[in-house]
């Protein structure tokens, strides 16, 4: 059998002789004859995209990405650079996982199904809620899905969704788009020194309210101290209490179920996924009685014909490929592989390891705040709350200029407004934080 003379995709194994045999079997002269496209819309130009070798592309992308500056990031606000053990990378790259698709044939995809079942189970333990789906795109879309869930579930004729004033702008915008097709309206309630302002929230919650959203820690790293009260306020008016959090925080902070949360959303990408320019894993857990209204895929246990315990996607009648426009969501392709990574990482850490991360995040934030507070011209933490990972600092000098100067020194921080920056400890080493304090001392005065 001969090789291939034509240039083409390196990923089709057709030698010229094979191509000829196949064309003959089909009964056409050329591949061209197989395309039933009217001449008027045939494309006979080219894209002007040069093919390159694998080696060239690796060199090219390495060169391009090397143009990203080497910065120590003290960013955060929903995206955290926890170290991902190498074993997670190697395991997640196992190609039976990576190159498979949705488990439409569960008999040959027990491996991924079991891993997703484990992922769901981990979130059930962390939230105390009865159900977790096997992934949403990110924290923002999970929040959007929570709102549409609230709409489907609502007992009242209400339309109001209440969210904290500090809600991260991306999440707020995405939520806005998810409710744009409904009659829901999103309103903010005030924050009181970094926590929910209970008085303001009480004023706003009424029987028009279908959902109250709170976060812990908040986008500013403040641990929300009155979750019980927020839950009671929501409950009193039959509004869904949706809590935003993440698996690391949940290993330390109050269990959502115990404070009355009906739904937990958030980002689970802190586990298992390296910082990936905002790529995320949307966490979605809720009470068991919502099960027929849950968006996204669910893996359940069953038995096979041999009586063995097995796993399978279940309640697919909620989904778009069966229920179409009456589906609980339009989501199809999700973030399953990221969920797999999260399950792996959590299983490697265990309850103690996860809680240790969170404890360290509290201690590190507390320590850095104290040291930053010692810097002339800076006061931290700005909010009188407990913090996890990150906190806001007040700067006497204009914060934007401080932020720019810090970039020049090799540090990225969030500039919140004219006199506030936000600093996150995750992913930095102790010596990097030492150097940062020195740099801040230079630029803040």
């Amino acid at each position: 059998m001969n090789g291939r003379d034509t240039s083409g995709t390196p990923y089709a194994p057709h030698g010229d002789a094979e191509t000829r045999t196949m064309l003959d079997a089909v009964g056409v002269d050329s591949e061209e004859d197989l395309f039933d496209i009217p001449d008027s819309v045939r494309f006979d130009g080219d894209f002007g995209i040069d093919a390159r070798t694998e080696r060239e592309i690796r060199a090219e992308m390495a060169d391009e990405l090397a143009k990203n500056r080497d910065l120590v990031e003290l960013l955060g606000r929903g995206h955290y650079d926890y170290y991902v053990p190498s074993a997670i990378d190697h395991l997640a790259d196992r190609s039976e996982f990576l190159t498979s698709y949705t488990q439409y044939q569960p008999e040959v995809t027990q491996g991924f199904l079991q891993a997703l079942f484990e992922y769901q189970s981990l979130l059930v333990e962390l939230t105390g809620l009865g159900i977790a789906n096997c992934s949403m795109y990110d924290a923002a879309t999970a929040l959007g899905e929570a709102a549409t869930l609230a709409e489907r579930l609502r007992a009242t004729s209400g339309t109001r969704v209440l969210v904290p004033d500090h809600l991260e702008s991306g999440r707020r915008e995405v939520l806005g788009n998810y409710v744009a097709g409904t009659d829901l309206v999103v309103e903010s309630y005030a924050m009181d020194d970094g926590n929910a302002d209970l008085a303001d929230l009480q004023d706003r919650v009424d029987d028009e309210t279908v959902m109250v959203y709170a976060e812990t820690p908040t986008v500013r790293g403040c641990i929300e101290e009155n979750l019980d009260a927020v839950g009671d306020l929501a409950d009193d008016d039959d509004a869904l209490f949706v809590l935003g959090s993440d698996p690391v925080s949940l290993a330390l902070l109050e269990e959502p179920a115990s404070v009355g949360a009906d739904v937990v959303v958030g980002s689970a990408s802190a586990l298992g996924l390296p910082q990936s320019y905002g790529m995320d894993l949307g966490l979605f857990a809720c009470r068991e009685d919502f099960v027929r209204q849950v968006p996204g895929r669910l893996v359940g246990a069953s038995t096979d014909a041999d009586g063995t315990r097995t796993y399978t996607l279940t309640l697919q009648t909620r989904e778009q490929h069966i229920r179409r426009e009456r589906a609980t969501s339009n989501i199809c392709t999700n973030q399953a592989w990221v969920a797999l990574r999260a399950a792996m990482h959590a299983t490697g850490l265990g309850a103690d390891g996860l809680a240790d991360l969170a404890k360290r995040d509290v201690a590190d934030a507390r320590d850095l705040a104290a040291r930053v507070d010692d810097v002339k011209g800076v006061q931290a933490p700005h909010h009188g709350r407990h913090h996890l990972r990150e906190f806001v600092a007040h700067t006497d000098q204009p914060a934007p200029a401080i932020g720019d100067d810090l970039v020049d020194e090799g540090y990225a921080v969030h500039v919140l407004d004219e006199h506030h920056v936000q600093l996150c400890t995750v992913g930095t080493t102790e010596s990097e934080r030492d150097d940062f304090v020195d740099a801040l001392t230079e630029v803040a005065r």
Binding site: N68, G111, I223, W337
Partner: protein, 472 residues
């Protein structure tokens, strides 16, 4: 063929929670007690056991790298290994809120990908934000909605052919539109009369896949486009089947105004057991000002930067918290660069050749044609779902079954370009062997897979969605 079946003595591989658990300790908590939880017990596998657990699970999972995976409409291409390496480049693994001057490399790759996709689709502008195909549809619908609204029009209906992907319906509904389902014509294509009837002042959008889910090219696409445009509507291209057209037809040239690309299909990024994918959206000029915020654009000459962010004038805002699925986009860029013009065009040629060749070797009836990258055979008197289960025993992944419904007991088959003649012949043998088997054999299948036939009814009736719910 026998798929791996691991167990620790028992019939099934234990859950991590059945192997080893530990409890967290809150005695040394740095927080007041009332802010912390009381207990938490989770599985904990030290690295050797962790690695074994997931290595075993992986062997109990079938992927493209295991064998043929002709799942119709899913375009299960080989995912080039090197694209994993470029995506894993640590210089690209950065925080999304870095200042723009510190991510010039990332923006360069994203800008190039926007450009490539625009050229391939014949579109004028592309957003990379949507994290999946359905998210792309939703984004496209939002953009169309914003366009109509900017024109002072309140159009409430989206027309979707009956044979379309379920996400089309769901995405339209999520955006608040009424969905008008369009019955198919006798030849399996759009029925122009039915379309005429469906179109009206309320028509915001017609969503089409081309070739459609039967693999048939909508030959009347120009007329369809004119009709929709005459009615004041826009035409949406569902990119799920773009792999049939690369280098031979561009949605933009056919009159489509907005489209999404499924990069995990057409551009070979891994499907990851269900995701992540990416669903970039391309639009014609008139719609560019409504795209999500921000777009990556070249910086003006006087800027010290090469690339910067720009907010489209009437942007619909965000559809993803940040900028979408970076790792997936990076892989798609690398794939397109690897193939280039000739490779992309050849990929479609071989995808279409493969579908036609396989169809010619399969003994099941294939009612419609001429098809492109996929064909829908009918299992006839057999149950298509049983056919699929039995095919598993032959070491291949079966086609999509029982859809589209226009073909009874449908076997929707898309081999993609990556299969050679030898594998196609193997697939054909699997089809034909099963075609000759009796119903009892089919009902007893599969036998050689990790699990025997799984009871779906039990799973749904006796819901056990976490290990808490298991009592054995």
């Amino acid at each position: 063929f026998d798929q791996a079946r691991w167990s620790d003595g028992d019939r099934h591989e234990p859950l991590s929670s059945e192997k080893r658990t530990t409890e967290a300790d809150y005695d040394d908590s740095p927080l007041p007690d009332d802010l912390t939880r009381d207990e938490l017990e989770l599985p904990k596998l030290e690295e050797p056991d962790l690695v074994r657990h997931y290595t075993r699970l992986s062997e109990m999972n079938y992927g493209i790298d295991s064998g043929p995976y002709p799942l119709g409409s899913c375009t299960m291409k080989y995912n080039p290994a090197f694209t994993e390496d470029v995506a894993a480049d640590p210089n690209g693994l950065v925080h999304p809120d870095r200042p723009v001057e510190a991510v010039q490399g990332t923006l360069s790759v994203l800008h190039s990908l926007q450009d490539y996709l625009a050229r391939i689709g014949g579109m004028d502008a592309v957003t990379l934000h949507p994290p999946a195909g359905a998210a792309g549809e939703f984004t496209g619908v939002l953009v169309a909605d914003a366009y109509h609204e900017a024109n002072g029009e309140d159009r409430s209906e989206i027309i979707v052919p009956e044979s379309a992907h379920g996400t089309n319906f769901a995405s339209a509904a999520l955006a608040g539109f009424d969905v008008v389902s369009l019955p198919g014509g006798e030849d399996g294509r759009v029925d122009l009369e039915a379309l005429e009837e469906a179109l009206g002042d309320d028509t915001a959008l017609l969503m089409l896949t081309n070739p459609n889910t039967l693999g048939l090219f909508e030959r009347d696409i120009e007329q369809v486009a004119d009709m929709v445009h005459d009615a004041g509507g826009l035409l949406y291209y569902d990119g799920a089947n773009l792999n049939a057209l690369l280098g031979r037809g561009r949605p933009g040239d056919m009159g489509f105004d907005v489209m999404h690309y499924n990069v995990h299909k057409t551009f070979a990024t891994p499907h990851g057991g269900g995701g992540p994918g990416a669903g970039p959206v391309g639009v014609v000029d008139e719609l560019a000002e409504f795209l999500p915020d921000p777009q990556v654009v070249e910086a003006p000459d006087e800027s010290p930067l090469h690339y910067e962010f720009e907010t489209p004038e009437h942007s619909v805002g965000k559809v993803h918290g940040k900028y979408g699925n970076w790792l997936v986009l990076a892989k798609a860029y690398a794939y397109i660069a690897r193939l280039g013009d000739d490779g992309l065009s050849d990929a479609s040629a071989k995808a279409v050749l493969n579908a036609n060749y396989l169809a010619s070797q399969v003994e099941y009836d294939v009612p419609y044609g001429p098809f492109h990258h996929e064909f829908v055979a009918s299992a006839g008197d057999q149950d298509a779902a049983d056919v699929a289960k039995r095919m598993l025993d032959y070491g291949v992944h079966p086609p999509t079954t029982k859809w589209p419904e226009i073909v009874s007991e449908a076997l929707m088959t898309e081999p993609t370009e990556i299969e050679g003649k030898r594998t196609l012949d193997q697939l054909a043998r699997a089809f034909n062997e099963v075609a000759s088997e009796d119903d009892e054999t089919l009902a007893a299948a599969p036998e050689r897979t990790t699990a025997a036939r799984i009871d779906q009814t039990e799973a749904a009736r006796d819901l056990r969605l976490s290990w808490r719910a298991l009592d054995d």
